[in-house]
């Protein structure tokens, strides 16, 4: 059920996937132009995974994400302006220009960090779920992590903790078949990441990550379990990223096999658009969404461009609650 005020949750799902796709296309372009500093890891191809999962959440549920951080907050309903401004390092950015592309975390949407240390979100999600439980709230915490991340101890510890304490947590492994350049099978033991669930005595679910409805249904079931006090679930979305590990790395990192084209053919947005049309949604309505999203993205970019950069003193904010004293000899040359 959408909670953003849109009337048709199906259109909302479509819209969010489009927002991710178009936001990223723009970001990729202006990164190539040098307008975005730092690294940029695109989520294109994986939209159904993030949107399907987040559509099963309430606005007040929590979410923790990864370095591939453009998709999750948009999937959870974040506004585009602060995201784009963040990419440009502006003060109006969602992280005030402190985080950048790998950390597009919008706390107002329950996002508790898109963390670029692989696997590090696991314990945080378990902790957010614990917090909700201790507060007697029926919120859940969802943790996105990659296939590569499943090898990290932090993911294991987070899942074990959530399972042993029956916390309202959902672990969503977005298996896009690669770490950076390393195929999942070279780095992750076992057939499926979801098979790890058995060892924790929790459900392990595998779902087609290109099918937004399937992802949503699987996560919804896990959310129900979690809210019902029945503990965590591990869900593996089998998906694919179209782009290289990150854009503009100088050369291709991720090896591409013949299955690449197969995956691109199963584009999650195309699949879902087709399904909606078959279900009687007018193409015009979908085109209108595409157009509206394009306008939103253009507006976000304009906003970002018009925004100011942070001033130097702000580099000393947010280390602690109180601004740090600024050394005079540093200030003198800033």
């Amino acid at each position: 059920m959408t909670t953003t005020g849109e009337n048709d949750p199906r259109l909302e799902k479509y819209r969010r996937m489009q927002r991710i796709r178009q936001f990223e296309a723009k970001a990729e372009k202006i990164h190539a132009d040098g307008e975005i500093p730092g690294a940029l890891h695109t989520y294109a191809g994986m939209e159904a995974s993030g949107v399907g999962a987040c559509m099963a959440l309430r606005d007040d549920d929590y979410m923790v994400g990864t370095h591939r951080s453009h998709g999750h907050p948009i999937a959870k309903g974040a506004k585009l302006r602060p995201l784009m401004a963040e990419l440009l390092g502006k003060k109006t950015g969602v992280c005030s220009g402190k985080g950048g592309s790998m950390h597009l975390s919008d706390f107002s949407m329950g996002s508790l960090g898109e963390t670029s240390i692989v696997g590090s979100g696991g314990p945080v999600a378990a902790g957010a779920a614990l917090g909700a439980k201790l507060q007697g709230l029926d919120r859940v915490a969802l943790c996105f992590f990659g296939d590569g991340a499943s090898s990290e101890g932090a993911i294991h510890e987070g899942m074990n903790l959530a399972a042993v304490w029956s916390l309202p947590a959902i672990f969503v492994c977005e298996n896009n078949r690669f770490g950076m350049s390393t195929p999942t099978s070279d780095a992750v033991a076992g057939e499926n990441v979801a098979d790890r669930a058995h060892g924790y005595g929790i459900p392990g679910v595998i779902v087609d990550g290109q099918d937004v409805d399937a992802v949503e249904a699987a996560v919804r079931e896990a959310v129900d379990r979690a809210r019902g006090g029945k503990g965590p679930t591990l869900i593996e979305t089998k998906t694919y990223r179209y782009g290289d590990h990150a854009v503009n790395m100088g050369r291709e990192l991720t090896p591409r096999g013949p299955e690449h084209d197969e995956w691109v053919k199963r584009d999650p947005i195309t699949i879902y658009r087709q399904r909606l049309i078959e279900a009687g949604v007018a193409e015009d309505d979908l085109d209108a969404i595409d157009k509206a999203v394009a306008d939103d993205v253009a507006d976000a970019l304009q906003f970002a461009r018009d925004s100011a950069y942070p001033v130097f003193e702000e580099a000393f904010d947010h280390v602690f609650v109180d601004r740090l004293p600024i050394p005079a000899e540093v200030q003198a040359h800033a």
């Binding site: 923790v64 950390h103 314990p123 902790g127 507060q135």
Partner: protein, 329 residues
């Protein structure tokens, strides 16, 4: 005021803060059974939900404390022994220290990570670490390292109330020492050092249990006619540099006593601070009395002499007092 031990002070602080604020809870390995005696009766008083035994997974539950803090809780993590912070280093350094910053102030991480400095009792290298200097190099973590029961209580209460993450390093050589400790509202602001003993000839800055060794040394020095001032920063981050500098500007001499390993120790930082900011006042080299850069061995005969001792501090003081006071032109 009652005379209670350092460990009892920890217990009191935790108890009072848990009574005061429902969002405070404790978790750690074997806290219900209460290994070192800082949570006696807590399960009965506060229930098993707020006094949680964790799996043996420091990265997991310390990171979970971060997550719980982000959603409005105020966790106290009892990590027992400081050496067990290494497995949790990533959650501490990557998540807890950095989340407020990296998300531009959106995150709030009010949590306390307690651990003891478990050295001097034949626990061998893997259990004897004093790793606070490592964390001093990582912005975003406040650090307390009290030397007496009264400070322990007052600082721990401040730590629990702080909206910043705080690491509490509790020196096990202080555990059993008793001290007058105010009951109830006794909160010592983070970042304020204390003059534990006034003196005029030399400033001895002690860190954690090093303060107590310094106080004993000061007494011995008094017999030799040397008046030592003993400063306890109490909080290592933020460090009360001004208090240290004031004292050194008065005495002109300084010794830093720190049970950590010498290289990149808190003593090194304090020494560098002094020479950088009070050079004109300095009449002698700033000496460090620390644990040399070796590991700690099991065999007590060779372990004990490695730590700062009264004798080593007295020696250092004599050296500093006798140091040539002229400078090359």
């Amino acid at each position: 005021m009652a005379r209670i031990t350092f460990l009892e002070a920890i217990m009191q602080a935790q108890q009072e803060e848990m009574q005061r604020d429902d969002s405070v809870f404790i978790m750690g390995e074997d806290v219900r059974c209460n290994v070192f005696g800082t949570t006696t009766g807590f399960v009965d008083a506060f229930g098993a939900e707020r006094v949680r035994d964790t799996p043996i997974s420091e990265n997991g539950f310390i990171g979970a404390a971060g997550g719980a803090a982000m959603v409005g809780m105020r966790p106290i993590v009892d990590a027992t022994i400081s050496s067990f912070l290494f497995p949790a280093m990533d959650q501490i350094c990557s998540i807890i220290a950095k989340s407020r910053y990296i998300y531009g102030g959106q995150a709030r991480l009010p949590l306390v990570i307690r651990s003891c400095l478990f050295y001097g009792n034949s626990n061998a290298a893997q259990h004897s670490d004093r790793p606070y200097p490592m964390f001093m190099n990582m912005p975003g973590l406040k650090i307390i390292a009290p030397s007496c029961a009264s400070d322990m209580k007052g600082l721990l209460k401040a730590a629990v109330r702080s909206d910043d993450p705080v690491l509490s390093f509790e020196d096990s050589t202080c555990w059993m020492a008793k001290d007058e400790v105010p009951e109830g509202e006794h909160v010592i602001p983070l970042g304020k050092g204390d003059i534990k003993r006034e003196g005029t000839d030399i400033t001895i800055i002690g860190v954690a249990g090093g303060v107590n060794v310094a106080l004993k040394a000061a007494k011995a020095l008094e017999a030799e006619g040397i008046s030592a001032e003993v400063i306890d920063p109490r909080t290592l981050v933020p460090l009360d540099r001004e208090l240290i500098l004031q004292s050194v500007r008065k005495t002109g001499r300084a010794i830093c006593v720190d049970p950590a390993h010498m290289t990149c120790s808190a003593a090194s930082e304090i020494s560098a601070t002094i020479v950088e900011n009070a050079f004109d006042a300095l009449r002698a080299p700033v000496l460090r009395v620390t644990t040399p850069d070796t590991h700690l061995p099991f065999s007590p005969h060779i372990e004990k002499p490695l730590y700062p001792s009264v004798e080593r501090i007295v020696d250092a003081a004599r050296k500093v007092m006798g140091a040539k006071q002229t400078q090359p032109a």
